[in-house]
């Protein structure tokens, strides 16, 4: 039997109301990329957070380099050479890139109290050069894009001399070319003998870069298989425990005669340039493009979250003035942000409070009292309908897994009866099983006559769900495709059509 770099056995962990991990196991060899897959709340992130010292385990054994270890903090784990790149970015926006990378282990001179930023900047620059990353270490992290912040996280993890590197959905926010850079880096680390745990929902990536796959389901270990010997559909079946819907969206409920939303010559600085498009009743319009193409900016402008400089918005043929989100909601427009934790949820409130947040008026009488029992009832209905995994509607939103949080946001707008729904990366960080549920839900909504704009960075998702595709690049609309003519290549051609 080969030497195992890391073995985790019988790991058990409970949170109030949830048995997150039920005697799970996992092992890692030096120089391998080991995928950890599973549905929402399957316990992947929890298992890895135990390994990297974020949580402490209730039971079980961790053997690292032949010795049993007890990790009681992230710093200890890092010093042992176990690092994690978190799914949610853990950076300090007010500090510079280099300051972020070396936080907790600043370079100091003879006097231990004083920090040496020159050295930190130099080391960061050396690392960026190796990674082929164009980034000034002196830039404040709050000023760079999410994709770049992710790269900083990876660079930070690499800057430790790690033997074990856990990547929790590292490519979610990356463009194709950045993903390629990351894969190159993963290959290099493999050759150096680093063991990499790769958590992802993207099967094509897992197929491409991993050696083995461990599947988890509902906090339990399912199986470990060699990537080369298994079909991805088998892995998906193991994850969900059932066969799932995997065909293209052939349903088209577009009512060509009925334009519900029209945007004319929308402009905002460099972010949005002369954007015009129409959205029909029952249509799913895919809004595609690379990171920073201006898709989210357009969505936020329509929703009134950001001001725009010029342009007109028509809802059902009427010109409307939208200066704040309330205006948009009153015209029946709902927006689901890609960053649900920041813009979609009030995390410390309950599931039902979140679901009813946008429609609370409806359940309030003239004296200002809200009818809590109706709210609970309505929320429970949506919890059932969207199969939101939560012990009750009184559970706090922050205790739900990412996919279930997303469903709560969807429920919020469904309860508000919005006719125009803008989904910004609706399946970001959501596992395959829940993804297909959300896809079904989108089709269902279109069938009911809702008009949907879906922003997505995943081309297969765009191709699968949209009836029509609008492609953006650098703030402009560079192409419009009917689903019949659309291919990944065609979309990419428009997405990279930069201004001469």
């Amino acid at each position: 039997m080969e030497e195992r770099l890391l073995v985790m056995e019988g790991i058990d962990k409970s949170f109030p109301g949830v048995h997150a991990l039920d005697h799970c196991r996992f092992d890692l060899k030096a120089g391998e990329v080991h995928a950890l897959v599973g549905e929402n709340g399957a316990g992947k992130s929890t298992l890895m957070k135990i390994l990297t010292g974020v949580y402490t385990k209730d039971e079980g054994k961790i053997i690292y380099k032949g010795k049993e270890i007890h990790v009681s903090g992230t710093k200890e784990a890092q010093e042992m050479g176990i690092c994690i790149v978190h799914q949610e970015l853990n950076l300090m926006p007010h500090l510079t890139v280099a300051q972020n990378m070396f936080i907790g282990r600043e370079f100091t001179g003879k006097n231990k109290a004083f920090v040496n930023d020159v050295e930190a900047n130099r080391r960061a620059q050396v690392l960026f050069d190796k990674m082929n990353l164009k980034l000034d270490p002196k830039t404040k992290v709050g000023k760079i894009t999410v994709a770049m912040q992710q790269m900083v996280e990876i660079a930070k993890a690499l800057s430790f001399d790690s033997s074990v590197l856990v990547m929790d959905e590292p490519t979610t926010a990356l463009t194709e070319s950045e993903t390629e850079e990351l894969f190159k880096m993963i290959k290099l680390l493999k050759e150096k003998g680093v063991g990499i745990v790769y958590i992802s929902h993207r099967m094509e990536e897992i197929k491409r870069i991993t050696d083995r796959i461990t599947v988890m389901r509902d906090g339990m270990y399912v199986d470990t298989v060699n990537t080369a010997e298994v079909e991805m559909s088998q892995v998906i079946n193991m994850m969900v425990g059932r066969t799932i819907f995997e065909t293209a969206n052939e349903e088209n409920y577009t009512d060509k005669e009925n334009v519900v939303l029209e945007v004319k010559n929308l402009n905002r600085g460099k972010a949005i340039k002369n954007v015009s498009f129409k959205l029909h009743k029952g249509e799913i319009l895919g809004l595609s493009g690379l990171m920073g193409a201006g898709r989210t900016e357009v969505a936020r402008a329509i929703f009134g979250a950001d001001k725009f400089e010029s342009g007109e918005i028509y809802v059902k043929g009427q010109k409307v003035k939208i200066t704040k989100p309330l205006d948009a909601v009153n015209h029946g427009i709902g927006y689901l942000s890609e960053d649900r934790k920041r813009y979609g949820l009030t995390l410390s409130e309950t599931v039902e409070q979140n679901i009813s947040l946008a429609s609370i008026d409806r359940y309030t009488n003239k004296l200002g009292f809200t009818n809590m029992s109706t709210i609970t009832e309505m929320s429970q209905e949506y919890v059932n309908k969207l199969s939101i995994k939560t012990p009750s509607t009184k559970q706090k939103a922050k205790n739900l897994s990412g996919g279930n949080q997303q469903k709560v946001v969807i429920a919020k707008w469904l309860l508000r009866d919005c006719d125009i729904l803008i989904f910004d990366e609706p399946t970001k960080g959501i596992d395959v099983g829940a993804k297909s549920e959300i896809y079904k839900l989108l089709s269902q909504l279109a069938k009911e006559g809702k008009a949907i704009i879906m922003i997505s960075s995943e081309l297969p998702e765009i191709l699968r769900m949209s009836n029509r595709i609008v492609v953006m690049c650098e703030g402009r609309i560079t192409g419009e495709l009917d689903i019949k003519d659309a291919t990944q290549e065609e979309i990419m051609k428009y997405a990279t059509k930069r201004e001469a």
Binding site: G73, T74, E79, N90, M92, P93, L95, Q99, V115
Partner: protein
């Protein structure tokens, strides 16, 4: 670092002035200049040497308190106890020097240790026992206020036996003009030195770095392996130490420890920090801004007094300026 700084400065252009960080300093500084110009025209007595020195001297105590509390505010916290901790420190100095008859330097050290200890208690309550900073420091504020009254028997402690104590603030190292006609009181010197120390700690040391990091994203800082509890405690202790120094400067200026004084000083200090462009939500803030903020408050008070505005109206106007400053800052950030 030196090289990079000079490189940046050589590239000063219009763009650099529009840079928000620079604009912020410019805004507070501009406001101070405007105030100075306005009062110079409004009253002939305003721009005299004696009056300017008086403004600076009256800035010292509030300024030193503000220099301390900015560290806590950058973490996103608040320390309501600094005013009464200052008083408690000065009473402790009084007890040490006058009641016990120990040397003046012992009294100074006792005062600073007292302040640091109070800050340490607040910090421990906040970071380790997870109390809200507002509540924890409210408690410490009341406790220290009470202790000051108990220790002093509710009466001022005078430093009549030790004339040298008074010189700490009102004596003067720096004299110029014929026969030392013009002199700068030491209190101003102490304030300047404390400002330099604060700037070095905030910008050059680990404590300063973690201070910004905690205010920017506390959880991420903790996950980076930084002992957040320890550093937060240290930051509160540092704030307390500044309150201790302020206590000495205050007592020396009044030549007595006044146990009933102190409450309300924390709010002036917070106002100075905020007028100086520091956000109460944490993660950002500058020492220079805070110093300017403190000067704006004392200039305003002094100028209105020189103009003959009643004291109660001075308070109303200062409050208005505070709100205006924060509003302007918000508009700038938009």
């Amino acid at each position: 670092m030196q090289n990079e700084v000079s490189k940046n400065q050589s590239g000063i252009s219009l763009k650099n002035f529009i840079n928000p960080a620079r604009a912020q300093k410019f805004l507070a500084f501009g406001a101070l200049i405007l105030l100075l110009i306005f009062f110079s025209f409004a009253s002939p007595y305003f721009m005299t040497f004696d009056n300017v020195v008086s403004i600076m001297l009256s800035t010292c105590v509030n300024g030193i308190l503000a220099l301390g509390i900015i560290f806590v505010i950058i973490t996103g916290g608040i320390d309501l106890s600094i005013g009464t901790v200052m008083t408690f420190s000065s009473v402790m100095a009084g007890v040490t020097i006058t009641t016990m008859g120990l040397p003046v330097w012992v009294g100074i050290i006792v005062a600073i240790i007292t302040g640091t200890f109070c800050g340490f208690i607040s910090g421990t309550l906040v970071s380790r026992l997870k109390l809200q900073p507002f509540i924890a420091t409210l408690g410490v504020m009341m406790v220290t206020k009470g202790l000051s009254l108990v220790l002093s028997g509710t009466k001022p402690i005078y430093f009549s036996d030790t004339p040298s104590f008074r010189k700490i603030t009102v004596g003067s190292f720096i004299k110029f003009g014929a026969e030392g006609k013009y002199s700068i009181p030491n209190g101003i010197l102490i304030f300047a030195v404390m400002a330099v120390i604060a700037a070095i700690i905030l910008n050059k040391t680990k404590l300063g770095r973690y201070n910004f990091a905690i205010g920017s994203n506390e959880e991420a800082t903790r996950l980076s392996g930084v002992n957040v509890e320890k550093w937060k405690t240290a930051i509160f202790a540092l704030c307390g130490a500044f309150a201790g120094v302020a206590g000495v400067v205050m007592a020396a200026r009044l030549d007595s420890a006044q146990p009933a004084l102190g409450q309300g000083y924390e709010l002036d200090a917070i106002a100075s920090v905020v007028i100086g462009g520091t956000s109460m939500s944490g993660g950002e803030g500058t020492i220079l801004g805070t110093v300017i903020g403190a000067f704006i408050i004392s200039t305003l008070t002094n100028g209105l007094k020189v103009m003959g505005v009643a004291q109660e109206w001075q308070i109303v106007i200062t409050g208005g300026v505070l709100v205006l400053a924060v509003l302007l800052d918000k508009m700038r950030k938009r």
